[in-house]
Structures are given as structure tokens and as C-alpha cells.
């Protein structure tokens, strides 16, 4: 529900501006229920219009059909019937279509200029909390009052919910006010957008594009939208998450997601204003779209060159020194290293392996697999595999890379990984990178480990002890190299081990 009040005189002119009569209850059928507009107050001094959505969750589900990817438990138990979500935005656009254009034949001057308005949303899903509402609506001329709604009074330890009670006051043109809501509601909404048809989402974002251009947080707004898109193809996984009483997000694969590099909307969509590339620094309070192994602090500590880039370059350099021509990237994530390898013709055979089908789908998209020229495509293999199962497909490469992978494996399963990589696949070279736990004190805001999916983070001594044991067991030799600023006391942020098969005597490369 949302209410819009004005104190313009006569206040009942709001009816003209909204093209809805103050003395009538008007109903608008929606696929999932009914939208109603009525006026709880309509006086000379003050007039309030209410847009109330009657969402029938059962109809909402049934209107989407069982083949949709959102066939998950959350369908019936969801906040759509209560919260001001993207459904409300779509209804608002539908019900107040004319008002949103600013056209009003009976009160043109009133429609053209700012009027005193008060808008109330009792339950607004607002990812990032009240502060985010201030950030989004403040720059648009609103006085914002946002109050967090507690999750459950019976369990005060659970804290606040994702909702805020939002009041906006200001002198704003009504059409602009409606457009602000239309665009920002879905952006603030924490839910995946699949509750409404995907073309609706595209419409929303496109409608907002020109208007967003002037907003100081425009890229954050865009990124928030794009960041949620992948959720579309995740049914099977989501089901397994629920089954284990887990939250799907907690099981998300640690994939380095860079929405700007996404080929984006299909070809018919206009090219984005924002060039692919650098997003502004992640602002405080906003959890970063954390790339694998990338701590919130990692960027701030090394503002010049992100650690993940340094790491990739270090791995590429080590591969070049090893003389390897065929490389398998075990745990390739979204395929950054695979792409870099393909860019160098000396790597004639490149494979990317990940256990996450989602990661592979992102990698395929990033690498533009479907449009890749034959000569490049022939050099590449991309497939699902797990490092705890022996796999003949891992064999036959000069080098294997495990870049920020081992720390995602439970310690009791590490010996299986060792057997699979060093015992069964037995490439000539194995390059392993992993965070250096000692360096973590350098990250100001870091609590615990650098990524929620990390099962451990090793000190240099622990890493080296592990590597030595692997060498003893499987007949490899090893050298270590720092990646990133090598702190004299703490060592580098990332540590890298270069393994070679056989004894160290006949080994080249590697400095230690």
C-alpha cells in the first residue's frame, strides 16, 4: 500500500491530478489480484489517495505457471501481499499512467509545478536499511523519514527486518514523484525480480535510464538490478538449499561477478549509457558484490590495482615461465583466467572447470562462447567437475591452476583434492594461490575470513607445510612467490605455490 497526500488548496484537486475521483473506490484488475484507488480523506485542507494492492499469493503463483524457474517454497510464504515491492511499482505505472506523464487538462498549471506532497509506504523492502532510502530519495528533493521495522518482537536478538516505514515530504511535481517511486521501488526491493515478468523489469530500468543519469548513485542503482538477474536459472539449486534449511544466498558459488562485463540485455535493447568498465569505489555500508577471495578491505588497501588482477597476472607469468602450452583452470569461476589464457596464442589448449553450473553459465556468457570464432573455440573446454572426484578429463594438461580454490574446500576433504590433482591428473606443473591469513590484519573492516565461503585461511607457514606434504606424497617439488605488496612482517596478501613434478634438481623457474 502507498498513500499520497497533498495540502495544496483545494487539496481535492489531487483527484484531478491523479485522474481518479475522490468519492469513488476504483478497481484495476491485475494478474495476481486487484489494485484499488480510494481516498481515506478528501478535505479542502488535506487530501489523501491510497493505492492498495490486494495480492493473492495463490493467484500470483498460479498466474506464473509451474514451468517458471521460481518454483520454490517462497512462493506462498512471501511478502508480496504486504510490502511495497516491484509489484506496486508496476501497478502504480498502470493505474496512474496519465498522471505519470504530467498531463492534466483540467489543472495544467498544478500538474506542471511542484506541490506539497507527502507519500507514505508503511512497509518498504529496503536493502541496505533506512540509510539507503535516504541516499536514494534525498537527492531528489525529498525530506526522508525512514524507520526500520523490527523482525519479531518475541526475538529481539534477531534485530531489524529488511523493511522500513518510509515517509517522504517535499515540494515535488506529482508526475516526478510517481516516477521516482516507479523506478526506485524495484531497486530498493531485496527480492529477485522474477515475481514480475522479465520484460517488465527491462521496461522499468529503461524508463529510469534518463532520469537516473543525474542521480549520484546511478551506477549503484544499476548494479543492484543487474546483480540480481542471475537468480533466474537457479531452481534446482534453490530447492536443495531449502531442503537443507539453508538460505539460497548462503550457498551461492563464490563467483567473481562483474555485471559491467555482462553482454547485457539482448540485442534489441539500446546500448547502455554506462560504458562497460569501472564502477565507482564501493561506498561504505554497501556490502560489495564480493568477487571470490576479495575482501571488502582488499580494494581499499590496494586502490591502484585490484588484487585479483595482480593475482591473475602473477599466475599468467608463472605459466609462461613454466613453458606450459596446455592449461586447466580448476575452479575457473566466471572464467577471467580462461579468457586471459585464450588471449595468448601460446596456450594451445585451455580448459575451465568449475563445480558450479551457474559459474560455468556466467563464464560461457562472459567469454561469449556462442559467438567465439572456431579457431579460438577449438582451444577451449569448459565443463563441470568437482575436485573431490577423480576425473579423467583433468589429465593431459601441462599445467593446472587452482587460483583461490583450496580455501573453499573443507579441510577433511583436502586429501581427496590432493589425490585428484596431484595423484590422478598429475600435470607437470600445478599453481596454487590462496589468501595469506597473516595479512588479514591489514584490512580495516574485515571480521573473520575474507569470504563467507572460505573454510580456512592459511598463514605462510601453514601453506608451506601443506605444500611440502603434497610434494612428499606425490613426488613434486615446490617454490613460493608473493602476490601483491609483500609486507616485511606479514607477507603478501596472496601466497602462491608453484609445484613441478619430480625432484627439484631438474626443475627450472621459481624463485624463493
Amino acid at each position: 500500500m502507498l498513500t499520497i497526500s497533498t495540502t495544496v488548496r483545494p487539496a481535492t484537486d489531487l483527484g484531478f491530478l491523479l485522474h481518479k475521483h475522490p468519492d469513488r473506490v476504483q478497481e484495476f484488475g491485475q494478474s495476481y489480484g486487484t489494485a484499488r484507488v480510494f481516498y481515506p480523506e478528501a478535505g479542502e485542507e488535506r487530501c489523501t489517495a491510497a493505492l492498495m494492492l490486494d495480492v493473492d499469493p495463490v493467484r500470483l503463483v498460479r498466474s506464473r505457471g509451474r514451468s517458471t524457474p521460481d518454483y520454490a517454497l517462497g512462493q506462498y510464504v512471501n511478502d508480496r501481499p504486504y510490502a511495497a515491492s516491484s509489484l506496486l511499482a508496476v501497478a502504480l505505472a498502470d493505474v496512474f499512467r496519465t498522471a505519470r506523464t504530467g498531463r492534466c487538462d483540467s489543472r495544467p498549471e498544478l500538474a506542471a509545478g511542484p506541490i506539497p506532497l507527502e507519500i507514505t509506504l508503511p512497509v518498504l523492502p529496503c536493502r541496505g536499511g533506512p540509510e539507503m532510502a535516504h541516499r536514494f530519495f534525498g537527492p531528489l528533493g525529498w525530506t526522508v523519514e525512514a524507520q526500520a521495522v523490527p523482525l519479531d518482537e518475541g526475538f529481539p536478538e534477531w534485530g531489524d527486518s529488511r523493511y522500513v516505514r518510509l515517509s517522504l515530504r517535499g515540494e515535488v511535481r506529482l508526475a516526478d514523484a510517481l516516477n521516482h517511486l516507479y523506478v526506485l521501488l524495484p531497486v530498493l526491493d531485496d527480492a529477485k525480480h522474477y515475481w514480475i515478468a522479465s520484460d517488465e523489469v527491462d521496461k522499468l530500468i529503461r524508463a529510469g535510464e534518463s532520469w537516473l543519469a543525474a542521480h549520484p548513485d546511478r551506477s549503484l542503482i544499476t548494479r543492484r538490478y543487474l546483480g540480481r538477474r542471475w537468480a533466474l536459472a537457479r531452481t534446482a539449486f534453490a530447492r536443495l538449499a531449502e531442503l537443507g534449511d539453508d538460505v539460497e544466498e548462503d550457498l551461492e558459488p563464490p563467483v567473481e561477478e562483474d555485471p559491467a562485463a555482462d553482454p547485457g540485455p539482448p540485442a534489441d535493447a539500446p546500448p547502455s549509457e554506462e560504458p562497460a568498465g569501472e564502477l565507482p569505489a564501493v561506498p561504505a555500508g554497501e556490502p560489495p558484490a564480493a568477487p571470490a577471495g576479495e575482501a571488502p578491505g582488499e580494494r581499499e588497501a590496494a586502490p591502484k590495482r585490484p588484487l585479483n588482477v595482480l593475482r591473475r597476472e602473477a599466475v599468467l607469468e608463472a605459466l609462461a615461465e613454466s613453458g606450459a602450452h596446455s592449461v586447466i583452470d580448476l575452479g575457473c569461476g566466471s572464467g577471467q583466467l580462461v579468457g586471459a589464457l585464450l588471449d595468448r596464442p601460446e596456450f594451445t589448449k585451455v580448459a575451465g572447470v568449475d563445480v558450479s553450473a551457474q559459474a560455468l553459465a556466467i563464464a560461457a556468457r562472459r567469454l561469449r562462447l556462442d559467438r567465439m570464432p572456431d579457431r579460438r573455440r577449438e582451444r577451449l573446454q569448459l565443463f563441470q567437475g568437482a575436485l573431490t572426484y577423480t576425473d579423467d578429463r583433468f589429465a593431459g594438461y601441462d599445467a593446472a591452476v587452482l587460483m583461490e580454490v583450496v580455501e573453499h574446500v573443507d579441510p577433511p576433504r583436502l586429501n581427496a583434492l590432493e589425490r585428484v590433482v596431484f595423484g590422478a591428473a598429475r600435470p607437470g606443473h600445478v599453481i596454487v594461490t590462496t589468501p595469506n591469513a597473516e595479512y588479514n590484519v591489514r584490512y580495516d573492516f574485515l571480521e573473520g575470513m575474507r569470504h563467507p565461503d572460505h573454510r580456512f585461511e592459511w598463514t605462510r607457514a601453514e601453506f608451506q607445510a601443506w605444500a611440502a606434504e603434497v610434494c612428499r606424497e606425490y613426488g613434486y617439488h615446490v617454490a613460493f612467490r608473493p602476490v601483491g605488496d609483500d609486507d616485511p612482517e606479514l607477507g603478501p596478501p596472496t601466497q602462491m605455490a608453484l609445484f613441478g613434478r619430480g625432484s627439484a634438481a631438474n626443475a627450472g623457474g621459481g624463485d624463493d
Partner: protein, 847 residues
């Protein structure tokens, strides 16, 4: 009349010019599907059997078909001219690459006969010069065809001989599948006659005076894995005894590498005298010439492996991978005699062997010797029986099919081993192969299901969860199946009610059911061992852990479950005593729900509750104001007020299952089934009454009891009482109950007690359990306002859920049965993984 004998599993190559009668001959002596002709393949790729331009493609297809058939072990006949050497060579190579024998049948007819026949066929429009050329090729071939590499070349000369010839199938020498035992399979003896006699007597054999033979009163057959000779004190004595047994039909013997080498030496070939060969040569030199001759003939005649008991047992000296079972080729023999050598040697100069058994996935048990091991160990349904008696170890036998190991110690160290004999074995870190789980899988289950299919996309989803989150596969012996609700109730205000569950079981012919309280928490499987040593012995987990507690998706319950595991081990120690087992697995519910699911509750349930309880009062206020203005919103106002009440009930429904815990304080575990213990898959064998009974004796504050009532379905009174029990349970806020047949009709009980309650209900069609959930609890499932839309919600479809429940249940019992039978890890994991994969199938999650 010529009789042609071809091996049962082989490639038969027909050779003859066009018109020599090959196709007619093939039709007469072989099944149509056994014959692959070049003409037919030409037709397949060109729509014209005589289109010579299609010949290269036609032969690609022919080779593919022939190769596939040979891989599958099928007798195959190639009907093509094959008059040229290179055509035959390709076929011979194909046969060798699949390790099958290859015979040629040459049909040599006069040129005129062939030409005449071709003229009679209007589709053969090639001229006589073609026949002439083919005939010339054949003539040239005949001179040296015997050197092509055929096992045998059968030549039929002239139309009459071809017409009169008959074809018989010869069984492979290795094929003794008709022998079903029972067997006593005996490891490497190496001339240790005294120990062999002791072992045979221990096994109940009666040795003839003079030790020239032995018989078993129960008619058992001994099978020797080879290496009877060398190194030890009395190789001739061992040979004499075994030769006598083999001749009398009470034993079989496969060749060991030592017999092979000794025979070569006796045949006067140049061999390097080492590894105890000298001892045998010296001992044999003291024997009469007659015995030496007989021993040489015996050893020369030994074959490299036997397939026994319908193919379920394979004996080979150094083991045999599955692709080689029943095959014949040089490399099969070499594998059987020497193992899968890598060509490298270790620091003692002994060959490095590839650990083929670790990758073995065959169904046949493979029993072998060759490599001395300090302890016998089952590896993927294979076992090595060489326990180094000659090096002072033991002489070991395996009783088949009982899988019992019997051994006797060496009387002394007869020979010093080059390599330290008792070197610590390499522990298998529990590594599985991706091929065990990848792609579309078909799992055979013994309890009520036949074969269960797992689709590729479901395997893919499960692989991610399994490898990123699941506990060590050695602990992951079971994942709980899903359970279906009853048919939807028509009773006013209810979606589910006990009546439908009772009716369903009654209709299936079941007379007694048990209703168990359904605890609302998180499903937990607890696998507990008495001690870390017991865990290492039974599960091969050697990291000092003694158990695991994991969720429905195989995740460990808490970051560190050690404390929980230890408490449960203590609590279950008396039960382990009672079961006579050092370990057990329990199916449980862990309470409270919030202990594991707090994140989910907060993000999903509490959020919806917060939104509802904040939004609805404001909506009521706005509607009241509008009503006050005389607007017609009365119905909506009423409904919104009702929804406000629903929202409060919804909040109460989830909040009941939440309470704060700290460490284990506040955590409770409600076990309701003993899944398995040593040697027994109790979940598959014991009635629910047994489970509830033994579990009710667990006394520990951590353990929550499971309340239950049993119901006589024939009595309405009994049904009503259980319904009242359910109503009371759910009114107090309970989730509901699970209704299960008390005993499976027709399933054999553990103590020889037949379950037979009369009705022959096929297991696998009746649901193993039906959950009947309470009215308030269902708000968590169907949303706060579900009671407003009951009519719509009653249109739910149970078919898929019910089918899924049956399949997962069968897989669950299968994994437990495989565990209890001591089957290899990959076999257990296959079934466990399949449950997780099936769980990712899109089924209405509210059911």
C-alpha cells in the same frame, strides 16, 4: 562334412569373392543380428547396396558396429569379400583391441560359379573382370593367410563343401560360469606344502594319503590363484597335491607368473633365474622324470583366469579389470599374470603396479594374489589373498560366497623378501570417481524398485551441493527420502487430515499402522562409531573423528559437530551393545528448527510476519477512514481484519519452533529410526515398532522421545482415537504426525519372522510413510492466509511427490543395504548421491 568351431565370443571374418555364397552361408549358420555385411552398410549410407563410391563410409559404419558389438562381448560375423590383406588386417586389429579371438572362414569357389551367380542377380551389374580381380587377390592371400593373425583359418573348397559344412560354438577356456561353488579360493602358496595342508584341513578338506589329492565332504571346490611354486621348501609337493585335485575335479587353478616362468625354464628356454626359481628347479631335479613331465604339462596348460558362478566371480593371479573378464588376448593374459604394470620399477627394483582395483567398478568379485599384503582388504569388490606365507606371513583362503577369510600362519620365514613385507599400506582417502555420479545414472535397487533413473541435470545440481558442502563421503551413508502427504482432505477448514492416510493404507491391504509424532526441527542423520578406532576400521576415516551429524543435504550440522557426536556416542553406547555393533546410523530430527534454520526463518518467515503485522494495521486504519467517509470498502475491511488475525497466527506458528540455543544447551535430538548397524540394514529389516522400542530406551537429556500410537485400521474406534490424538497434538502447536505401516507385508523380518499379514502388497507401490500436517503448521507452508483459499489449494497434484518418495525411499534402503553388506564406498555413494539428485527435481515443494 566339415565342422567349423568358432569361439563363443569372437569375430568371424568371412573371406570369398563376390558370389561365393558368403551371405547365404552366414544366414544359414548365424543369427541375422550377428552378421554385419558391407552391402548392408553401403545401403545404410548411400541408399544403394552397390554404390561403390560409398565404400569408405560404409566400412566406417561397419567397423563401428563391429567394434561396439565386440566391446559388448557379442559374437560377430563380417560378411564382406575380405580378399585383400589390408581389409582383413583392420578387422583383426579391431578384434584384438577388444581382446576377442578372430577366426576366418574362407569360401573358395571356382570363378565360373561365382560369375554365374552374379549374373543371375540383376543388381550386381559389375562385369566378370571384378570377380577375376577378386579371385586373383584371394589366390594371393591363401598362401599366407595363416600368418595374418587369425586364431584359425577354416577353408571350405567348392560349393558342395560349403553347403555341407556345419558351425559349432566353442566355449572360452576361461568360461566356467556354470560352476557355482561353493569355493575355497586359496592365495599364493609358493611351495609351502605344510601350510597348504594345514589350511585345507582347517577348511574341512580331507587330504588323501600321500598328499596326491583332496576332497571336501561338502563338495566344495578349491580355486588356486597361482604361484604354487618357487621360493618355498616343497614346490613339487604343492604341485603334486594341486595337480591331483585339479585332475579329480575338486580344484581349479589359474596360472601365476611363477608357473609361467618355471615352465619356460623347464622347456629349455633362457630365463633369468631369480625370485626363488632356483629352489624349484633344484627340487624338481630330485623328482622322477615322469613327474617333471606331468608338472610341466600341468603348468603349460594353466589358463590365465576363470569366470565362475554365472560371471559373479573372477579369479586371476594378479587380478583383472572388468573389460578383460572372459576375454582372450596377449594383454589380457599379461594383465592376469603380472597385473597392470606401469613399466617403471620402484626403489627395490620391483615393478610399479597401477592400482587398478581402486578404479574397479565391475559387478563381479575379483579374487587374486601376486602382491603380498600384510592384511587382506576389500577394495571395490576385489581382494588380494597373497598374505606372504613364504615370507613368514600367512596362507589365506577366501570362502565363497560367504566372503569369510580363513588363514594359517607360516611355520617359518622360508624366504627373505626384497621389499619390506609389512610396509604400511596406503590408505585410500575415500576418493570417488566423477563417473560414479556424472550424467544420467541408473541405479539398481533391491527393495521394490528395479532400476531408478537419475537425470543429468539433477546430477549436476547435486554435484555442486555434494562437493562444496557435504561431509566426507565415508560418513555420508544415507540421505533421508522425501515423504508425501495424504490425499487432500475435503473436510471444511482442512487441507490434510488423518482419515485419508488411514484409508490409503487400508486400501493397500495393510491392517496395522503406527502414527509417530512429527517433530518440527531439522532432519538429521547421525552416524556414530564407538571410538575413533572403530570409525577407522569400519569407515576408513582415520582423522580421529568418531561420527558425523548431517542435514538432509549432507551438510554438517554445526561448524564443529564434535561435541554433539560425542554426546550422542555416549548416549547410544548401550544401544550399540544391544545391537552387537561398533557403530550405528540414526535417522532423527534435531530441535529446535531455529538451531539450523535461523537464517532461513529470519529471511523468509519472520520477514513475512513482520511485513504483514506492520502493513495490515495501517491498511485497516486507511480502510476505516475511507469507510468513515461513506466509501464502499466494507468487505475489504472485514477481510483485511481477518488477515491481521491470520498474520498473528502465522507468527505464532513459526515462533513455536524457535528457541535460543547456546552450544548444545537447548538442542534436542529426536531419533525415530535405527538406519543400520554392523551387518544389518535395520531400516530395511525391522518393523517400526522395533525401532521405537529400542530407541525409547535411550536415556539422555539430549534425546527427545517420539510419541506414537498404533492403529488397527479395521477398527473405526482405533482410527478415531488416533485422529483425536493428532488433533490434540496439532492444537498444541505440533507439526503433525507420520503414519507408517507397522510391518511390511511380505518382507522378511530380522529374526526369520515373516511379516506376512496376508495381503500381498508389492513393496515399492505403497508409500513407506504419509505425513499428516496440522492446520496451523500449514500456514508456514502455504502462507498466512491459506485458509482463505482452501478451495484453490485443494487442487494440488500428489503424483510426482508420491513417486519421488517411493524412489528415494528405495534408494535410501539401497545405500544402507550396500553399507551393511560391506560393499565398496562408491556403491554406497552412488545411491546416496542419487537421493540428493532426485531431491532437485521440480516437485511442488509444499507437499
Amino acid at each position: 562334412m566339415t565342422e567349423i568351431a568358432v569361439p563363443e565370443m569372437s569375430l568371424v571374418v568371412l573371406v570369398g569373392v563376390s558370389g561365393s555364397g558368403k551371405s547365404t552361408f552366414a544366414r544359414k549358420h548365424f543369427a541375422p543380428t550377428q552378421v554385419v555385411s558391407s552391402d548392408f552398410c553401403r545401403g545404410l549410407v548411400a541408399d544403394d547396396e552397390n554404390d561403390q563410391t560409398a565404400t569408405p563410409d560404409a566400412f566406417d559404419v561397419l567397423n563401428y558396429i563391429v567394434g561396439t558389438r565386440l566391446r559388448r562381448g557379442l559374437l560377430t560375423v563380417v560378411d564382406a569379400t575380405n580378399v585383400q590383406w589390408d581389409a582383413r588386417k583392420k578387422l583383426i586389429e579391431l578384434a584384438k583391441s577388444h581382446d576377442v579371438l578372430v577366426d576366418a572362414i574362407v569360401m573358395d569357389v571356382p570363378e565360373e560359379v561365382a560369375a554365374e551367380r552374379n549374373e543371375a542377380r540383376p543388381d550386381r551389374d559389375f562385369g566378370p573382370h571384378v570377380i577375376r580381380r577378386q579371385h586373383k587377390d584371394l589366390r594371393r592371400s591363401m598362401a599366407k593367410i595363416s600368418r595374418d593373425g587369425f586364431r584359425r583359418v577354416h577353408v571350405l573348397r567348392g560349393a558342395d563343401e560349403i553347403e555341407a559344412a556345419t558351425v559349432v560354438r566353442e566355449k572360452a577356456w576361461s568360461d566356467r560360469r556354470e560352476l557355482t561353488g561353493p569355493f575355497d579360493i586359496i592365495g599364493d602358496v609358493h611351495g609351502c606344502r605344510a601350510e597348504l595342508e594345514t589350511l585345507l584341513r582347517t577348511l574341512g578338506w580331507e587330504i588323501e594319503p600321500g598328499a596326491t589329492g583332496a576332497t571336501h565332504p561338502e563338495g566344495r571346490t578349491a580355486v588356486f590363484v597361482g604361484d604354487l611354486v618357487d621360493r618355498g621348501p616343497d614346490s613339487p609337493g604343492v604341485l603334486r597335491l594341486v595337480m591331483g585335485m585339479v585332475a579329480a575335479g575338486t580344484a581349479l587353478c589359474v596360472s601365476g607368473n611363477h608357473e609361467q616362468k618355471l615352465a619356460r625354464a623347464l622347456n629349455g628356454r633362457k630365463v633369468r633365474v631369480a625370485h626363488g626359481l632356483q629352489e624349484s628347479l633344484d627340487q624338481l631335479a630330485a623328482e622322477p622324470e615322469e613327474f617333471r613331465t606331468a608338472a610341466l604339462a600341468f603348468m603349460d596348460g594353466l589358463i590365465s583366469h576363470y569366470q565362475l558362478d554365472g560371471g559373479r566371480l573372477v579369479v586371476a593371479h594378479a587380478g583383472l579389470k572388468e573389460a578383460y573378464h572372459g576375454r582372450a588376448s596377449g594383454r589380457v593374459r599379461s594383465f592376469a599374470l603380472y597385473g597392470d604394470t606401469t613399466g617403471e620399477t620402484d626403489e627395490y627394483g620391483l615393478p610399479v603396479r597401477y592400482p587398478w582395483a581402486r578404479e574397479y567398478r565391475g559387478r563381479a568379485m575379483v579374487v587374486y594374489g601376486h602382491t603380498p599384503v600384510p592384511e587382506t582388504e576389500w577394495i571395490n569388490n576385489t581382494i588380494c589373498l597373497d598374505t606372504g606365507v613364504v615370507f613368514g606371513g600367512r596362507l589365506t583362503a577366501l570362502r565363497y560366497p560367504a566372503k569369510e577369510i580363513v588363514s594359517v600362519p607360516a611355520e617359518k620365514v622360508w624366504y627373505e623378501s626384497v621389499r619390506p613385507f609389512a610396509a604400511p599400506g596406503h590408505r585410500d582417502p575415500g576418493v570417488l570417481s566423477i563417473e560414479d555420479v556424472r550424467g544420467t545414472q541408473h541405479i539398481e535397487v533391491r527393495h521394490g524398485g528395479g532400476r531408478i533413473k537419475v537425470r543429468e541435470e539433477n546430477s549436476a545440481a547435486a554435484l555442486e551441493i555434494m562437493s562444496r558442502f557435504a561431509v566426507d563421503p565415508r560418513w555420508l551413508v544415507y540421505l533421508p527420502p522425501t515423504m508425501a502427504p495424504p490425499e487432500t482432505s475435503r473436510l471444511d477448514g482442512y487441507l490434510e487430515h488423518p482419515a485419508e492416510a488411514f484409508e490409503e493404507f487400508a486400501a493397500a491391504g495393510i491392517t496395522r499402522v503406527v502414527c509417530e509424532e512429527k517433530h518440527m526441527g531439522s532432519r538429521a542423520v547421525a552416524v556414530l562409531a564407538r571410538s575413533p578406532q572403530a570409525a577407522a576400521a569400519r569407515f576408513g576415516v582415520a582423522d580421529g573423528t568418531a561420527g558425523a551429524v548431517y542435514t538432509r543435504t549432507g551438510r554438517p550440522f554445526f561448524a564443529d559437530t564434535t561435541e554433539l557426536v560425542d554426546r550422542l556416542r555416549r548416549a547410544c553406547a548401550p544401544l550399540m551393545d544391544e545391537l552387537g555393533s561398533d557403530w550405528l546410523a540414526l535417522d532423527c530430527e534435531l530441535l529446535p528448527w531455529s538451531a539450523k534454520a535461523e537464517g532461513l526463518i529470519r529471511s523468509q518467515y519472520a520477514s513475512v510476519g513482520a511485513a504483514a503485522r506492520t502493513a495490515l494495521p495501517e491498511a485497516v486504519a486507511v480502510l476505516e477512514a475511507a469507510a468513515g467517509r461513506g466509501l464502499d470498502v466494507g468487505d475489504l475491511l472485514d477481510r483485511t481484519r481477518r488477515r491481521l488475525t491470520n498474520a498473528a497466527r502465522f507468527r505464532d506458528a513459526y515462533a513455536r519452533y524457535c528457541w535460543p540455543v547456546s552450544g548444545l544447551d537447548g538442542v534436542r535430538l529426536a531419533p525415530f529410526q535405527v538406519l543400520a548397524c554392523e551387518g544389518r540394514a535395520t531400516a530395511a529389516r525391522e518393523p517400526h515398532s522395533w525401532h521405537l522400542d529400542v530407541l525409547s530406551r535411550l536415556a539422555d537429556p539430549l534425546i527427545a522421545p517420539t510419541r506414537h500410537v498404533s492403529v488397527d485400521l479395521a477398527s473405526q474406534e482405533s482410527r478415531d482415537a488416533a485422529t483425536a490424538w493428532w488433533s490434540a497434538l496439532t492444537a498444541e502447536g505440533g507439526e503433525g504426525m507420520v503414519v507408517k505401516p507397522l510391518e511390511w507385508p511380505g518382507r522378511e523380518g530380522a529374526h526369520g519372522r515373516g511379516g506376512g499379514t496376508g495381503a500381498a502388497v508389492p513393496e515399492g507401490r505403497v508409500q513407506p510413510g504419509i505425513k499428516v500436517r496440522g492446520r496451523e503448521y500449514l500456514r508456514i507452508i502455504y502462507g498466512p492466509d491459506y485458509t482463505e483459499s482452501l478451495e484453490v489449494l485443494r487442487r494440488r497434484f500428489l503424483g510426482r511427490k508420491r513417486s519421488l518418495a517411493l524412489r528415494e525411499h528405495a534408494l535410501g534402503l539401497e545405500s544402507l543395504s550396500r553399507l551393511a553388506d560391506g560393499e565398496p564406498l562408491w556403491r554406497v555413494h552412488e545411491a546416496v548421491f542419487a537421493v540428493l539428485a532426485l531431491e532437485s527435481e521440480p516437485v511442488d515443494p509444499r507437499l
